[in-house]
Symmetry: C2
Subunit: 219 residues, 2 copies
């Protein structure tokens, strides 16, 4: 059987056009896939009221009282950090030298109350200082482990839902948030998350009361 | 003119094969492009001797004396951090709360001697402590600026050649490197580098002696 050359060429053109369209579609699909979070927060954070954000996170059953404070409700580095943490649905692993910021402490307790599995690793020396949130976290039933020995447990990172890494120079203290020059990098990146999660698990096991009988644990 | 159907089909097959080969080549080229640096260093660093690394960085004219110390010459987090810094060819911008590690101080001075434009921003309170490297950097002619006022300049990041970001919890002190639990994230990523570089420039200008007459500057 014979067909005209023109028809053969037309078939070729159609095939190439179809391949190009398929490639364009695949590339568009890649572009439209939700872009992973990539954010950097710099501190000091502008003063702003986070009460509404925390009340909203407490859920529909919680009483909502308009905050009478004069601070603006605008977006700031602290509110952005709170939102990233409050996005947790399944787990929150925190590895933090100093934790005394009441708003961040409340956010972590709200997550625990919502059923998120919260684990905290902290520094033994700092957690004993006045104003530390660690006692309140333990009272709420959150698992806390701490170092024992030389040096500081000086990390300042958290992992949300085993998918988002929050890391930087910031201790979660009011002084650091309101006064210091600090940075926090937020990234959804499987490679980085795995490395930090592995470090978290190493420390979690090392500081386990069953591994080291001189350590205490929240529950 | 007429050609057999078989010949038309053959042409189509050849064209598709050529397109597929082209696509495969393009993908291979993408894979073979130098992969941007993505590294995480955890501390404490294993004890190891970094003398050979620093002697090599001092250049061919520098005297090489075998180090008599008993420490292993193996790779460790400190040597990896040193290598990343010593890869600088044009610029090194450092924004660091505490800087007292002699090896890192020597590396920064070597870079300055090699003609790399080094700028350092640090915390006024910490730089005054004994063991700080800041005095040696200034003596070597490196530009140093520091904060003046409330709060700490608590950042711990550096930018190599305006292309590689080094950031984390680590202050560049021997205590932190040898004893603490710390992390350092190294990333070649234009988006992150720009954000941190902008922060560096903001601080550099803010701490300028011409902006604030109460501040001093190395040169």
């Amino acid at each position: 059987m014979w067909v005209p050359v023109a028809a053969g060429r037309r078939g070729l053109t159609v095939a190439i056009a179809a391949a190009a369209a398929g490639l364009a579609l695949a590339m568009a699909a890649l572009r439209w896939r939700r872009r992973p979070v990539r954010e950097v927060l710099f501190f000091p954070s502008q003063p702003s009221c986070t009460e509404a954000l925390l009340a909203e996170a407490a859920g529909p059953g919680a009483p909502v009282q308009p905050c009478p404070c004069p601070l603006p409700r605008s977006d700031c580095s602290l509110s952005r950090l709170l939102r990233r943490l409050l996005s947790a649905r399944r787990s929150l692993d925190i590895c933090l030298f100093a934790f005394s910021c009441p708003q961040l402490g409340l956010a972590v307790r709200l997550l625990h109350r919502r059923g998120v599995r919260v684990r905290v690793v902290t520094d033994a020396q700092y957690m004993a200082l006045r104003g530390s949130q660690i006692g309140l976290l333990r009272l709420a039933g959150i698992q806390v482990r701490h170092d024992q020995g030389h040096g500081y447990m000086h990390h300042k990172f958290a992992i949300v839902d085993r998918r988002m890494l929050i890391t930087g120079s910031l201790n979660w203290t009011t002084q650091a948030i309101q006064t210091n020059r600090e940075n926090v990098l937020v990234v959804e990146d499987a490679e980085y998350v795995k490395l930090y999660l592995d470090e978290f698990e190493r420390i979690w096991e090392e500081y386990s009361p069953t591994t080291n009988s001189s350590l205490s644990q929240g529950q």
